[in-house]
């Protein structure tokens, strides 16, 4: 693998080169209220790479919270349909400095929205996105990526991968898409030294010291549905307030709702908006029957979907251990403890 060095002081040039190529950069930084978010950044200084990953996932730039699907107009008793393609979807963008967990989440989104019936609007977003991953040095106290088989230095899924050191990044161009960016970096790329291989390893050892203890759940992979009838769900659903925060802040949650809006007698549009399996209305039939009638059913559905159903359907966890659900939960339900409890319940 070709590795190079790029000095942090030279990043100014990279950013102006990207601007010239009409590529916008999205990365984590502080907004005007000093909240850590993913946002459009115009300079390297705006990035806050030394913080933990923001609570709101980067998914909203690829799968917008609300998006028009099409608009319609009725003329002479005939409908005209115009598909709505938001300009952002065809805009070339770089996601700068995504942690391995978030990179994996985008990999999952790609896999999920493709398939027999590809979701064309979202795939267009993904197609125009180049991911620059970064080795994770700053885990939060809720992170459990190693539990989900993701190493803090894993570069799978990224187009370009950075390993941060004090003054420079060790940079690897991994895919064709990533190599298309090379021209923006070319002027400031410095050749790397033999010792640069070591940096990644250093970060792994340093970060794993900070991470919480890994739960070995590979031994129960594919068998989690056996815990379906165990009493552990009641314990968590008793206190769950079904706020939906965990699903809205999850980088791999994919569900949405589609509804229509009538603007006038003859025009209107259909939009889609994020939806959450935590809500009772999610599965409610028109007849009033609700397949998942209790909060327990809905909490179990979320966990089962992430740790069992996608494992059988797509051979992957749909969880990256980013810890956002733990950080956002207002009543302190810890997904990590649920996994622990499942494991215990299965070994009884």
């Amino acid at each position: 693998m070709d590795t190079n060095r790029i000095y942090k002081k030279d990043m100014v040039q990279v950013f102006s080169a990207l601007k010239k190529l009409n590529i916008s950069v999205i990365g984590q930084g502080f907004d005007e209220k000093q909240r850590l978010v993913f946002k459009k950044v115009s300079s390297f200084q705006e990035l806050a790479l030394d913080e933990i990953t923001p609570l709101q996932p980067v998914k909203s730039f690829l799968f917008p919270p609300t998006e028009k699907v099409f608009s319609y107009a009725k003329q002479d008793e005939k409908y005209q349909i115009t598909p709505e393609t938001s300009p952002e979807s065809s805009e070339k963008k770089v996601l700068f400095g995504l942690r391995p967990c978030d990179v994996h989440a985008i990999e999952y989104l790609k896999k999920f929205y493709d398939g027999h019936f590809p979701d064309q609007p979202i795939l267009r977003y993904l197609e125009n996105t180049i991911i620059i991953g970064i080795a994770c040095e700053h885990p939060s106290n809720a992170c459990f990526c190693t539990t989900m088989d993701i190493s803090p230095i894993s570069s799978t899924g990224a187009d370009v991968f950075l390993t941060p050191t004090e003054n420079f990044f060790v940079i690897e161009f991994l895919t064709e898409k990533g190599k298309s960016l090379q021209s923006a970096f070319s002027e400031v790329l410095k050749s790397s030294e033999a010792t640069d291989v070591q940096w990644k390893q250093n970060i792994e050892t340093e970060t794993s010291k900070k991470l919480l203890e890994k739960i070995e759940i590979n031994s129960i992979k594919g068998q989690i549905n056996k815990a379906y009838d165990k009493p552990l769900w009641k314990k968590y659903s008793d206190v769950c307030v079904a706020c939906g925060g965990c699903t809205f802040d999850c980088p791999t949650c994919t569900c949405f709702d589609m509804r229509d809006v009538m603007e006038s007698k003859k025009t209107g549009y259909r939009y889609r908006a994020w939806d959450s399996c935590s809500f009772a209305s999610f599965t409610l039939h028109a007849s009033g029957h609700n397949p998942r009638n209790t909060k327990m059913d809905r909490l179990r559905q979320r966990i089962m979907h992430k740790y069992h159903y996608t494992v059988t359907n797509m051979q992957t966890w749909s969880c990256t251990g980013c810890g956002r659900c733990v950080r956002v939960c207002p009543v302190g339900i810890n997904t990590r403890s649920i996994l622990k409890d499942i494991k215990e319940a299965l070994h009884e």
């Binding site: 099409f70 409908y79 349909i81 598909p83 398939g115 709702d257 259909r270 089962m304 159903y309």
Partner: protein, 287 residues
């Protein structure tokens, strides 16, 4: 990737004919949009119909005319969107996406005895298979339709049922839940037909094929009804892989993305809506 078609855009069919089946249900004959390949539509599949400005609902196909390229939908007025569809007139355009879902395993049903168990509006998706048997004489060995409704007012397809009765190798049995004055037919739930002690019990299960080897049961109805049908079938030890059911979960996209119809590992819109009883046993009880 992005040059692929956008599956969320509906095409349009024209409503040719509307019949009031009963107070709640209307049937709509819709000409299929040109882009749709009607030859591939299988009984048991469903379409996403939209009343633009109100929304979209999944509706099972109840009859396909392969020659005229028309589709028949029977729609109950239960919500805002179906109410709007009910207001439509012949000549109006209706948004259609589909067909989606797997449909009944028609090939595997060839030469079998078919027992159709329908509760109320559940007859709608099953009508497509009854119609299929009318169009393809001799495709099935014997067909028996067991239909249960709340009252005589809930009957649908009155004319068609008369025609079905005339057909050889076909029995139709009808029952209502509540006794009524002018009704001298069966009273009770549709599950009664499956029980031995019922005087008018199922022809196929008890006389034609008591070994159940060459018989398939197709069930559609509300959750309470099919759960009871399963119980009745369990009692007579009917093999579970020969029972098929159409699930009706809440759906939004129809193509396995929106997540509403997810039940266990299956997405009802992709892997269903037709499931065998055997498959259903492996699913969590969330239907």
């Amino acid at each position: 990737m992005s040059n692929q078609p956008n599956h969320y855009l509906p095409s349009f069919g024209k409503i040719l004919e509307i019949n009031q089946e009963n107070t709640l249900i209307k049937s709509f004959v819709v000409s299929a949009p040109d882009s749709m390949q009607t030859a591939q539509v299988v009984p048991g599949q469903f379409f996403q119909l939209s009343a633009l400005g109100y929304g979209e609902v999944p509706i099972s196909i109840s009859e396909i005319d392969y020659n005229k390229k028309t589709l028949l939908f029977c729609i109950a007025n239960t919500g805002a969107i179906t109410a709007k569809i009910h207001e439509m007139q012949p000549g109006d355009e209706i948004g259609i996406r589909g067909p989606y879902g797997n449909g009944f395993p028609i090939a595997a049903l060839k030469g079998k005895n078919i027992v159709v168990v329908a509760g109320g509006i559940g007859l709608v998706p099953l009508r497509s298979i009854i119609h299929y048997s009318l169009m393809n004489q001799g495709y099935f060995n014997y067909m028996e339709v067991l239909f249960g409704a709340k009252s005589t007012a809930d009957f649908i397809y009155r004319e068609e049922i008369k025609q079905w009765r005339l057909k050889p190798d076909t029995t139709i049995k009808v029952t209502i839940d509540n006794p009524e004055k002018d009704w001298n037919g069966n009273v009770g739930f549709v599950t009664n037909f499956l029980q031995d002690k019922c005087p008018d019990h199922s022809e196929v299960l008890y006389n034609i094929d008591p070994s159940f080897k060459n018989t398939v049961v197709l069930v559609v109805g509300p959750p309470v009804m099919y759960k009871n049908v399963f119980k009745a079938l369990e009692k007579i030890e009917f093999p579970d892989k020969q029972v098929f059911l159409s699930l009706e979960n809440h759906m939004k996209c129809g193509i396995g993305k929106c997540g509403h119809c997810n039940c266990g590992e299956k997405y009802v819109c992709l892997d269903g809506p037709i499931f065998s009883w055997l498959e259903m046993k492996s699913l969590p009880k969330e239907y």
